[in-house]
């Protein structure tokens, strides 16, 4: 165990991955609570595929990956949100179309340029080695912005999520907050994707929120708990990846899954207790 912490603080790449991973887990779990409640979980998944496509094209053309993919994914997020309100095309179909097309474009771009190398594999399933110094600085800055905006707008975000029509009637600019949510989600997904992988990043958004909702019943507690839980799962997942030499993304997802199962267990025990006490009272 001490070997793990020693290596995190001495090997630059491990330390960087650890720091960025914790921040991204925190951001994605906070946003995740809202996305799950708004029934936007699949948007997170769709955006990660778009992010993969953009990243592959950027690398193939020799551009800096993050600077290209962040704006592309923000655009895609904006577009997906718009589609949700349109009656012409169903949003789940739209997400499926967009995610598989961008995956395809990404794969074509890589195979035309470098060929299917380990690079592609690391985009798909994540790698701790993917980050360089510049990425780390950008990731830290953006994560801090996401966190600050979330805290400052917490109550408005709550109101808009709980009841859009009421928020609208009290003069909140609902469209703006939905857009803000889309942008923050897009940024978080691009940042986390390198480490977690395009296939697995959406789990960071969905799992901690789901688990917390099993156990807690107030919005505040659900938000706080999923933030803490997400960071814990990431640290445990990274340890797992270190000790057993498995990809960090997969390891984090499995740990999250374990916590979710424990969450279900706690919920069912709680329900039974409640039932028993209500029978006693009755």
């Amino acid at each position: 165990m001490s070997g793990f912490w020693y290596d995190v603080f001495t090997y630059g790449f491990l330390g960087r991955a650890f720091l960025v991973g914790c921040l991204v887990s925190l951001c994605s779990s906070l946003l995740g609570v809202i996305l799950v409640l708004k029934r936007y979980s699949m948007i997170g998944d769709g955006l990660s595929h778009v992010s993969f496509g953009a990243l592959s094209v950027a690398v193939a053309l020799g551009f800096a990956p993050l600077k290209i993919s962040i704006p592309v994914v923000i655009l895609a997020a904006f577009f997906l949100l718009r589609i949700r309100n349109s009656k012409r095309i169903k949003s789940d179909a739209a997400i499926a179309v967009i995610s598989s097309s961008s995956l395809a474009i990404g794969v074509i771009a890589t195979s035309l340029s470098t060929g299917m190398t380990t690079d592609v594999c690391s985009y798909m399933f994540g790698s701790v080695l993917a980050m360089n110094q510049e990425d780390v600085v950008l990731s830290i800055l953006l994560s801090v912005v996401v966190l600050l905006l979330f805290i400052l707008c917490y109550h408005k975000i709550f109101a808009v999520t709980f009841d859009e029509s009421f928020a609208c009637a009290t003069g909140v600019n609902v469209g703006f907050y939905n857009l803000l949510l889309a942008i923050l989600t897009a940024i978080t997904i691009v940042l986390g994707m390198r480490m977690m992988g395009a296939m697995l990043i959406s789990s960071l958004i969905i799992f901690p929120a789901l688990t917390s909702m099993r156990v807690f019943k107030s919005f505040k507690m659900v938000t706080i708990s999923s933030g803490i839980l997400s960071v814990i799962c990431f640290v445990l997942g990274m340890m797992g990846s270190y000790f057993y030499s498995i990809p960090v993304g997969a390891s984090v997802v499995v740990i999250n899954l374990c916590f979710l199962l424990v969450g279900f267990l706690i919920e069912s025990i709680k329900n039974k207790k409640q039932l028993r006490s209500s029978i006693k009272l009755g």
Partner: protein, 238 residues
């Protein structure tokens, strides 16, 4: 008494297609107005207009000064999403103070007191820290009314408040609304399908059918041709 809200020949609609035209009525402090009409008669469009979500295409809508500063208390129809939303009753009610809060990131003590006061008015103070989703339908409506009262306690707009409630809860909710109206002088605009109860509760009736078919007090409505046929239609159906 002052006029809270006046519509002068107002038309509302979407992208220049008029959904409801030539509506003229006014509401004074403490009055109770029922908006009735069939599906597609423009009830929800009118309501969006009153809430300021649609601009009038023609005519003018005048709100009294105090109402302009605060906002209108609004009880929307419940959505699916709220059925499993993790939030306590107090969190929900407090979100009604959103407008007073302005740009500050947190609620002040005074706003928390307002929220508490409104919970008490609706007899829900014991449920303060209970999860919203575990309440019964009628209790949830009470919580949402308390939230609406946090926005203002002068005018409440209720959008089909009894949808999905059982008969006992429906009666209870009607009595509660009546009490708010009489005891606290909250003016009420209620959009409803439940025409018979509406006529028993309200002072005024506004009957819509893409345009204004009737506006006046309940007695006049019962005497009028349209009111009579609509009321009997309800009876014939049951």
């Amino acid at each position: 008494m002052n006029e809270l809200l006046t519509c002068n020949n107002v038309s509302f609609g979407y992208e220049n297609i008029i959904a409801i035209s030539e509506v003229s009525f006014s509401l004074k402090e403490g009055e109770y107005l029922c908006v009735v009409g069939e599906n597609g008669s423009g009830k929800s469009t009118l309501m969006k207009g009153l809430l300021g979500l649609l601009k009038p295409l023609k005519g003018e809508l005048v709100l009294d000064e105090a109402l302009q500063k605060s906002s209108i208390g609004y009880l929307p129809q419940q959505t699916d999403l709220q059925k499993d939303f993790p939030a306590t009753v107090f969190e929900v009610v407090l979100s009604g103070c959103l407008k007073q809060r302005g740009l500050l990131p947190f609620y002040s003590k005074k706003q928390k007191e307002t929220a508490m006061k409104n919970l008490k008015r609706l007899g829900m103070e014991d449920f303060k820290s209970r999860p919203y989703k575990e309440l019964s339908g009628g209790q949830q409506q009470r919580v949402l009314i308390a939230r609406a009262l946090c926005a203002t306690d002068r005018l409440l707009i209720l959008d089909e408040p009894v949808t999905g409630l059982d008969p006992a809860a429906t009666m209870e909710l009607y009595e509660l609304i009546k009490r708010l109206n009489q005891k606290y002088q909250v003016a009420i605009i209620m959009v409803t399908h439940d025409i018979k109860s509406a006529v028993n509760q309200a002072d005024l009736v506004l009957h819509l059918g893409q345009t204004q078919l009737f506006f006046g007090n309940v007695e006049e409505y019962k005497q009028s041709e349209i009111g009579n046929s609509f009321l009997n239609l309800g009876k014939g159906g049951k």
